[in-house]
Amino acid sequence: MPLSGAFWVGQFPGSRSIADLELDFRQRVQRFLNAISSARAGLPDARAANARSGAPNFAGPVVVGAPAGAVAQAGPAQRVQHPHVQINATFRPAQRAYMMHYSWLITRNQIDPVHVPAYQPIGNQQTPVDIQWVHRDRSGRPDIAASMRAALEMVNGFQIANLHVAPALDSNHVHGRAIDMTISWVGNMEIVDNLNQTVLINTLPRNGTNRRLIELGATYQVYHLRHVSADPPHWSYNGH
């Protein structure tokens, strides 16, 4: 059984690809992302345009109501842009979460290496983590200092040394049911929801925490974290 140490940092790597999401959630995310990446951004401010032309200033209807494809045309000089989407994290294997969690606890003296439990498989992630947390001296007695040093190598490799709380053992990311992504656009945006309705988003902020975008994501059953400002890039299958 290999001893703990830097070697383990390269094992069970995390993913930023939607291909590693759980199948059902992946399909929802794919539809949502396709809608975002084909949305038309950079549109002029309709309220300002209406105000200039004397038309009544609409008080914020979200749904334009036109079927997809029948949206207003951009002006001749206007270049249609698409929102930018960057996926920062999707799947963290349960084995990696386990190694992060316990290496952090060891270096903070919150658990004795001798007492670290074996990896408990989560879902279909059955591959064991054959890690030996306890280093021993020549006489076979636990060498706590060496065990701590090895755990520190892992903490530095995982880049979790400055965290205030141990990385979670279990979460939606561990089950492939969450995605962290930054979304941004310029101007106003027209985007199609899962009911094939075109939605105008002309409110701020122009990023993934926009309330209307969050409502639109829900039509695809991709839910932003309920406490929006706590984790701005976090979307999941259930809003947690």
Binding site: A6, V9, G10, P13, G14, R16, S17, I18, A19, L33, N34, I36, S37, Q81, H84, V85, Q86, I87, N88, A89, R92, M100, G157, F158, Q159, I160, A161, N162, L163, H164, V165, P167, A168, S171, H173, D180, M181, T182, A230, D231, P232, P233, H234
Partner: protein
């Protein structure tokens, strides 16, 4: 008699006092001249020793400066690990926009540091994630440019980020203030040792471009 090539020509000892006669010394017929290869060897040895000194120059930590905040299992912000060696700044730049841990990292490049004023500028190439472009996932090409001042307690300045995957990305510029962290960085006996540890991090979390 075979003509001597330049390789076999005795090297003048002008400037060398190893075996040559000093002013006032009587030249001696019995005094041995140094072999022709000795000065060559001496020069080569000096070069080799110099190179060893450069490689073995200690890489001393300056510190970690960070704005990274953790909320639940996520984090946000930036972190810079800085070292000093041979009058230059070395380091790693990290950015967190998602899950805590496994932070995307990039080598500090094109750095310029004025010790008197504390002015520091550098670039760092990172891959923060996968860009979703026309139904495909493409590793992002995030270029960070920093210009500011390095102080004992903080690193403050302007940070510009642009994702070069998108032709129309105008970039985002922000003022940042990174506080020096208590945790100390390790020092390394040589630049090679430092590079090895940096490569370990970059292999997993480094730029894909």
């Amino acid at each position: 008699m075979r003509p001597r090539t330049s390789l076999h020509r005795p090297i003048p000892l002008t400037g060398f006092r190893l075996w040559g006669a000093a002013n006032g010394d009587k030249p001696s017929r019995h005094r041995r001249r140094p072999p022709w290869w000795l000065p060559v060897l001496t020069v080569l040895a000096a070069i080799a020793v110099g190179a060893d000194v450069a490689v073995a120059q200690e890489v001393a930590p300056i510190g970690t400066y960070s704005t990274v905040r953790q909320s639940g299992e996520h984090c946000s912000g930036y972190s810079v690990d800085l070292w000093r060696t041979a009058g230059t700044i070395r380091g790693l730049f990290h950015s967190c926009q998602g899950l805590a841990g496994d932070l995307p990292a990039g080598l500090i490049e094109r750095s310029s540091y004025d010790e008197k004023s504390g002015r520091l500028s550098f670039e760092a190439r990172l891959t923060l994630g996968n860009d979703y472009v026309e139904g495909r996932e493409v590793p992002s090409k995030d270029l960070f440019t920093f210009d500011g001042r390095l102080g004992a307690a903080e690193l403050a300045g302007t940070l510009k980020k642009i994702d070069q995957v998108y032709d129309d990305d105008k970039g985002v510029t922000e003022r940042i203030r990174l506080r020096k962290q208590r945790a100390t960085l390790p020092s390394y006996p040589s630049l090679d040792d430092w590079r090895r540890q940096a490569d370990q991090i970059l292999k997993i979390n480094g730029p894909k471009w």
